[in-house]
Amino acid sequence: MLLYHSIKIALVGLKTNKTRSALTILGIVIGVTAIIMVVSLGQGAKDLILGQIEGLGARVIGIIPGRQPKGPTDILATLTASLKERDLAALGRKENVPHAADIMPVVFGSETASYEGETYRPTIFGGSELMADIYDSYPERGRGITADDVRGSADVVVLGQTVAEKLSPDRDLLGERIKIKGRNFLVIGILAKKGGASFINFDEMALMPYTTAQNYIFGIKYFNRIIVRADSEANVAVTVEDVKATLRELHGITDPDKDDFGIETQADLLKTVGTVLSTLTVFLAMVAAISLVVGGVGIMNIMLVSVTDRTREIGLRKALGATNRNILTQFLLEAIILTGIGGIVGILFGAGLSFAVSLVINNVFGLAWIFTFPIGAALLGIAISTIVGLIFGLYPARKASYMSPIDALRHE
């Protein structure tokens, strides 16, 4: 007897028991749907987050003050006042860092802002006139911070959408004066709405010259970051080395392990965040895969009932000349075809739901979420569900094949 005939018999068997077949595969469908959704949404989230990190610009290098922790007990890492004006000056000299196109110091922290009785606590972000270009944060209305504002420690502020709305739900704040830490600031610009999950959330920020923030808001002489932008992507690595060399010389550091600063590049961040997200996705997919095993137990359960139910059929087939192997093959194929179909249906469901979710995220939350169909996970889903069918179908199929034709025919 050819395999093709066995498949045909199995298919007929499944077709004549449609409801049962459909119920049997439900567990597999749900399991595979879960896997596909987890992987697809995981991939979407990863693409989105990595996309936002990439949005920072491949040429951007962040210098972080303080020794970077090498382990969980590395307390010295908390020393954060190591980046100062002289570092800025040294990094700005062409002979030190020849490929640095732009350099901007950054200070930030939370502070309460108020306007006519309304208060809100935005993130104060102090930078230079380069801020708008580096972070693509041009004001929607009004103007941005200028070099003159920085030089003169001007009391000006550019507000993010959320900050502006919270402080004054009805009135346009452009040109008004708001109070931050008891000091009056002129609102010179309002940022465009960026969306809730940007990597740096400008909606929640109040931008001002770093000089103003240092002198009047935080009262500090150091920077929280120095941002260096290389003149090309190819020169990022060289620039990182130049920055390190410059700062080490300036700070008198000979042992790289004792650096009192850290370097952050987009590539590093992409790698770290990407790894975390991938690990998370794999973990969740594995949890979903466990549900496939549960689905397999369901299959075995229903196949056993099916074997008992179809005792007469088995007996008849044997009386008509089916061998034990024929019967075994038939029931095993039924299980495998069932789980295979369950896998395919699960992939379609999973892809469909993931697509629906991506539409919702796109339209409701306004994020640039890209739907991806995880081909690897789909193949894996089909493979696992088929193997589940094989494993959990074997016992019922063997039971069927060992039935004696006459016991089977007598069965009422």
Binding site: M1, V12, T16, A319, L320, G321, A322, T323, N324, P405
Partner: protein, 238 residues
């Protein structure tokens, strides 16, 4: 050489400690082309005898030669092959696959045979025609009357052109009119196509379609006689 021969055949069923002897040493021969009815009251062992002769179960003692070969020498797979190629079964309760057309039901034995698939349809239709059900090929069992169902079962038994057809109380679930039609078809198959037929029944009326009657009582042969006034089929003689 007889087609079938049994020597001192016994069969017992063990249910825990208790052993029930169902067949207590039977001897007979059945020649190719015979039409034999096995009669007896319920519990006489006639069904068990048919199951053993039909290679559906094995005897406990004694010998059974089929086509000159000791059936004890057959492996499970060989027995399946013999059942498929040389034996046809008709059961009291029809045993048709539900929600499956007449044509597919009749094809069933071919699925397990070495017959090429191209021939299946033709063979099945031919067998269906032989039982006069050509107008029902695409019907499902639930749409057929009891008599028609049994005729489908006969067609299924025929489709492999077996040497022996076993009929286990084929009229047991039928009204007398349908029963008569079924018996006449079986007789016609025997007369015109030369199939050996072994019929199990407890009705003398039905048994008299055969040429020879073996009567069982309590697992032993009570009598083995030829039928003098054989009931002649008048089917298709309108």
């Amino acid at each position: 050489m007889s087609l079938m021969e049994i020597r001192n055949l016994t069969k017992s069923y063990d249910e825990g400690e208790v052993s029930t002897l169902v067949l207590r040493g039977l001897d007979f021969k059945i020649e190719k082309g015979e039409f034999v009815a096995v009669m007896g009251p319920s519990g006489s062992g006639k069904s068990t005898l048919l199951h053993i002769l039909g290679l559906l179960e094995r005897q406990s003692g004694g010998e059974y030669f089929f086509g000159g070969k000791q059936t004890g020498e057959y492996s499970e797979d060989e027995i399946a092959k013999v059942r498929n190629k040389k034996l046809g079964f008709i059961f009291q309760s029809f045993n048709l696959l539900p929600r499956t057309t007449v044509l597919e039901n009749v094809k069933l034995p071919l699925l397990y045979s070495a017959v090429m698939e191209e021939l299946w349809d033709g063979l099945a239709r031919q067998a269906i025609e032989a039982v006069g059900l050509s107008h029902r090929v695409d019907f499902e069992p639930s749409q057929l009357s009891g008599g028609e169902k049994q005729r489908v079962a006969i067609a299924r038994a025929l489709v492999n052109n077996p040497e022996v057809i076993f009929a286990d109380e084929p009229t047991g679930n039928l009204d007398s009119k349908s029963g008569e039609v079924v018996m006449e078809i079986i007789q016609k198959l025997h007369n015109e196509m030369g199939h050996t037929v072994i019929l199990i029944t407890h009705e003398t009326y039905t048994a008299e379609y055969a040429e020879r009657i073996i009567r069982l009582r309590d697992g032993m042969i009570e009598s083995d006689t030829n039928v003098l006034n054989r009931r002649a089929g008048k089917l298709f003689q309108k």
